[in-house]
Symmetry: C2
Subunit: 424 residues, 2 copies
């Protein structure tokens, strides 16, 4: 792992969690694919001193990528600060200023917004500031990117300055990689492979024991438990492939009955199964209220197998939209295995789908009782031959956690129903 | 802003984006509430050297909070590494070892999982490692937290070591704050206020011009554009309250027609409006497929006003479940203002709700035409007096971005319908 990079994410809105950072992980993954080892992602607010500290912290890397802080407002300071740290004072680039002005004009015309010309010009001028000797990357939105090597005679990393909006950053990435100083910084890297094993129903400590029983030189193994799924992610150079094969064999031998994938996510497994078998699915969700059908339709092309779903939050909706018999609701309550089954069956018949999924539960924080505590969730999947797969659980955590885990469990149930493997 | 803190998030799964970090933002917000200034969040993988570097980077802070790396596997190294950096070697704490063993036993019994006793014991022993002189915080899951001051005679911050699962971290937070070394580190902090203004329909550069026209000493202002909404977040000490009032007046004067909130989010505004007016809502979503109804039900208590929704992904579902006339689909196509109106009306009548929302569009990446490009979305909200609010847009970005922005626009339409303010 010869070439190392660091990432600096700027923005008080990211630091304080008002905006979830998508750029750090995206960049880390892209750099990993290129064989670059990312040591750290540093998130700082819009204060110049904190940005300077972050750049100094990463001064030993070969490449530093910054995201954000290239907008027209006073808190957008990245270009100037990076210029200072690299010993390259910034000045307005007149050609770039004209280019950005034209973009902003088109943007405002399209939205039909009026604007004070002087204010607009000041913002444009700010976005056209370029450190001396930096390479300008053409704007995808309104902000240009910058490649800023250290000034002549100085050491330290090349700093690649990218805009904050993920679509702009990702759109600019190919041009950024093609820039000569970036190519130079990345020279000497070697390919790194990454593979993932996925288990459902094995404790992390059991897996740890398996991994401890043998040495796997050349593999960097990390494990991660998420919503009941245990992921084993391994990174390694091409020459360690035999070691990785040995690891797969060891995990398969010890935990084969819970290993459900040597690569694809449960979402990919389920989507492929529907597509390959030409089956369709519909859902009826109470406590998860649309989260499962939203997840099933995240993938492009999912309209081929997802017919739709009902978020039957109110009991009246369970009756009217899904056809759950009122007697069933009266006899067992809305949160019961019986109603989960009726929701699955109703979704299947109302949408005319091959597979139906029903979910009903108490996500909390209110609504729990001694008999049915918060976190009680009943699920049912009904397959193309009317085979029923019921599951009842009491899930820990917040309202949001209970909803998310219910959806993950439903995905595992679909996986079990369609392709077999470990029980969900 | 007398007291400063830094946050270290550990875990290769976070660094590479397989897991989205929720702890850094949560901790930053909690510390801000306490009047502590957070300068940086550093994300590192599960390599001891990178964790050491991160701790050294934050050596000038008063308090450092770490999250993650306390599990039973070999890649969980935080406790030992923090002990080394603080000059406090770690050893197994026998009482803690017994406590964790009992927790793990209960956990496995409840799940009905069998496990190799020796493997389990090794994992428990690992989780019971405590740096010499550290304060142990009782486990919420299986991992304890640790408060590790620098060894006698050493300088540097107190390091608070917390587990990675958000529910465990949050559950342990009160005990962590109560620990004497943390209290000591936080002494001398002063209250910081944070207020937010929210605009819908103003360009960031226009706002920048407004903010440049006057000086607002003592305010730390950041702006953030998200899904069309412009947030202005200001942090300030109590004595700068008059300055903040002046800023609100300036923004109101210049952008009053787009200012829709001086605090609450659009979700809160909409939820309050439904609750206060005793109205109910139902949705029929095509391209967003449940995302809107899932968002409306994120809040506890939303069952009082959300009756449910239909994700009518297939045309057959639009007809059967929502009652969209087949002639309308044939004449205008599924993605049309007419069908959006029929979805809103159908949702309203099928669920018996006061308010109905319909969304239909092309999220992409496929399915676009010259006439209806990817990103074309038609929305309609129908109010309690059958008043219709239609909107048609072409949204930029990925499939996921188009879906998210459509939902945000629908929330603004509900806001406009229920409480007025800037047009959505």
């Amino acid at each position: 792992m010869g070439v190392r990079a660091g990432i600096v994410v700027t923005g008080t809105e990211v630091l304080t969690g008002r905006v979830i950072d998508r750029n750090g992980p995206w960049l880390a993954e892209e750099l990993r694919r290129l064989g670059v080892d990312v040591g750290a992602v540093v998130v700082v607010g819009d204060r110049p001193a904190d940005l300077v500290d972050a750049l100094r912290f990463l001064a030993g890397e070969d490449l530093v990528v910054t995201t954000g802080g290239l907008g027209p407002t006073a808190d957008d300071l990245t270009a100037e600060v990076v210029g200072e740290v690299q010993g390259r004072p910034s000045a307005v680039d007149p050609a770039l200023e004209r280019e950005i002005a034209a973009i902003v004009e088109r943007l405002m015309a399209r939205r039909g917004w009026r604007a004070d010309p002087e204010a607009t010009a000041a913002g444009v001028r700010k976005q056209a500031l370029v450190p001396d000797g930096a390479t300008v990357l053409a704007p995808v939105g309104t902000a240009p990117g910058l490649v800023v090597p250290p000034a002549e005679g100085r050491g330290g990393p090349v700093v690649l300055v990218l805009p904050g909006p993920p679509s702009e950053l990702q759109g600019m990435w190919p041009a950024a990689l093609a820039a000569a100083p970036v190519q130079h910084a990345l020279a000497g890297r070697e390919e790194l492979r990454q593979e993932t094993l996925r288990l459902w129903g094995t404790l992390e400590s059991q897996l740890a024991a398996t991994l401890r029983q043998a040495e796997f030189p050349g593999l960097e193994v990390t494990t991660c438990l998420r919503d009941g799924e245990l992921e084993i992610v391994t990174r390694y150079g091409a020459d360690a492939q035999p070691e990785y094969d040995r690891l797969v064999a060891a995990v398969t031998q010890a935990h084969g009955e819970t290993l459900f994938s040597t690569g694809p996510t449960v979402d990919e497994v389920v989507a492929s199964a529907f597509a390959d078998r030409g089956l369709t699915v519909a859902t009826a969700e109470s406590c998860t209220s649309g989260l499962l059908v939203a997840r099933l339709t995240e993938r492009a092309g999912s309209s081929a197998w997802v017919l739709g779903g009902v978020a039957s939050y109110a009991n009246s909706a369970k009756e009217a939209l899904v056809g759950v018999p009122p007697e069933l609701l009266a006899a067992h309550g809305a949160v019961s295995p019986q109603v989960a089954g009726a929701l699955a069956g109703g979704a299947r018949s109302r949408f005319g789908a091959d597979v139906g999924v029903g979910i009903t539960g108490i996500a909390g924080p209110g609504g729990g009782t001694a008999e049915k505590p918060v976190g009680t969730v009943h699920l049912c999947a009904i397959g193309p031959d009317s085979e029923e797969l019921p599951r009842s659980v009491v899930l820990p955590g917040s309202r949001s956690a209970v909803r998310q885990r219910s959806v993950s469990l439903a995905m595992q149930m679909l996986r079990q129903l369609l392709v077999g493997g470990p029980p969900a």
